[in-house]
């Protein structure tokens, strides 16, 4: 799980072009949206693309987005539970 969370931080920084953010700046449980990392609705779409490109996971229900993308940890938990072997 620790390795996956570290990978996710690096992938999010690259995919969302967060050039002034370092992986260690992102807390495992820090909110990704609003007052946390400050991501917006377009970033949410990019996170969906990231899940598909890097982990081959298609999100069946977009309504689950806020729960899944709450933090790095919730993303990692979702990937672990849904990634095909």
């Amino acid at each position: 799980m620790e390795k996956l969370m570290a990978d996710l931080k690096a992938q999010i920084i690259e995919q969302l072009n967060l050039q002034e953010v370092k992986p260690e700046d992102i807390g495992d449980d820090q909110p990704l949206f609003k007052d946390g990392l400050g991501l917006d609705s377009i970033d949410a779409l990019e996170l969906i693309v990231l899940m598909q490109q890097h982990y081959n996971i298609r999100m069946a229900n977009p309504d689950d987005g806020p729960k899944i993308f709450q933090s790095i940890r919730t993303m990692a938990e979702f990937i672990t539970a849904n990634q095909k072997a």
Partner: protein, 202 residues
């Protein structure tokens, strides 16, 4: 018709920046992306959204950033500053990049920049402008048209101030020339006429 004032102007071309006739930056650069990052570090910073913009928006946003340094606009209600821009290539550079991604998974981050007037939105968000805005596409910078359009906005009280000009970018070809026009003079306080704009645009 009152004679409005051209209170500041900024020119960004490869690879220099001029404000009100003074050369602020003149440097070697590997390309537009690197040049804009260098200007960001020098004149802005701490605006995370800059890094997500396409090159056209970065160019226009950066030109506005330099233009408005030492020219506070908070004396006007948010609705009273207009933005009027024009260019030749619209958002073609980003359109092509977006099209390339469509072959695989279309990029939402690129898609939102596939219109040239997004740059007006980026400048508006930064400076909290909510006034009239327009973005025209023409082969050349039509200075008589631009001057008349801005003049009418101010004369009809649709705006008290206007940032206008030419923001062109396609691949590594780029040019941003922005003017701050107001009813009252401050700063450079040049007469806002087509002849004056022609002279500065040379």
């Amino acid at each position: 018709m009152t004679l409005n004032k051209l209170n500041a102007y900024t020119i960004i071309r490869p690879f220099h920046v001029i404000k009100n006739g003074e050369v602020l930056v003149d440097e070697q650069s590997a390309g537009l992306q690197e040049f804009l990052r260098s200007l960001y570090d020098r004149f802005a910073g701490q605006y995370q959204k800059f890094h997500k913009m396409d090159l056209l928006s970065k160019l226009g946003w950066m030109a506005a950033e330099v233009l408005l340094q030492d020219m506070p606009m908070d004396k006007y209600p948010q609705e009273d500053t207009a933005l009027v821009f024009a260019n030749r290539s619209a958002s073609l550079d980003t359109d092509e990049r977006y099209y390339d991604t469509v072959q695989d998974i279309a990029s939402p981050a690129l898609f939102v920049y596939t219109l040239p007037n997004i740059v007006t939105g980026e400048i508006s968000i930064r400076h909290k402008f909510k006034g009239e805005n327009a973005f025209f596409v023409s082969e050349q910078f039509d200075i008589p048209f631009m001057t008349a359009y801005v003049q009418q906005l101010l004369d009809t009280n649709a705006a008290q101030a206007c940032i206008c000009g030419w923001i062109e970018q396609y691949h590594e070809d780029f040019e941003a020339v922005l003017f701050l026009v107001e009813k009252e003079g401050r700063g450079a306080a040049l007469p806002f006429t087509a002849g004056q704009i022609e002279k500065l645009y040379q």
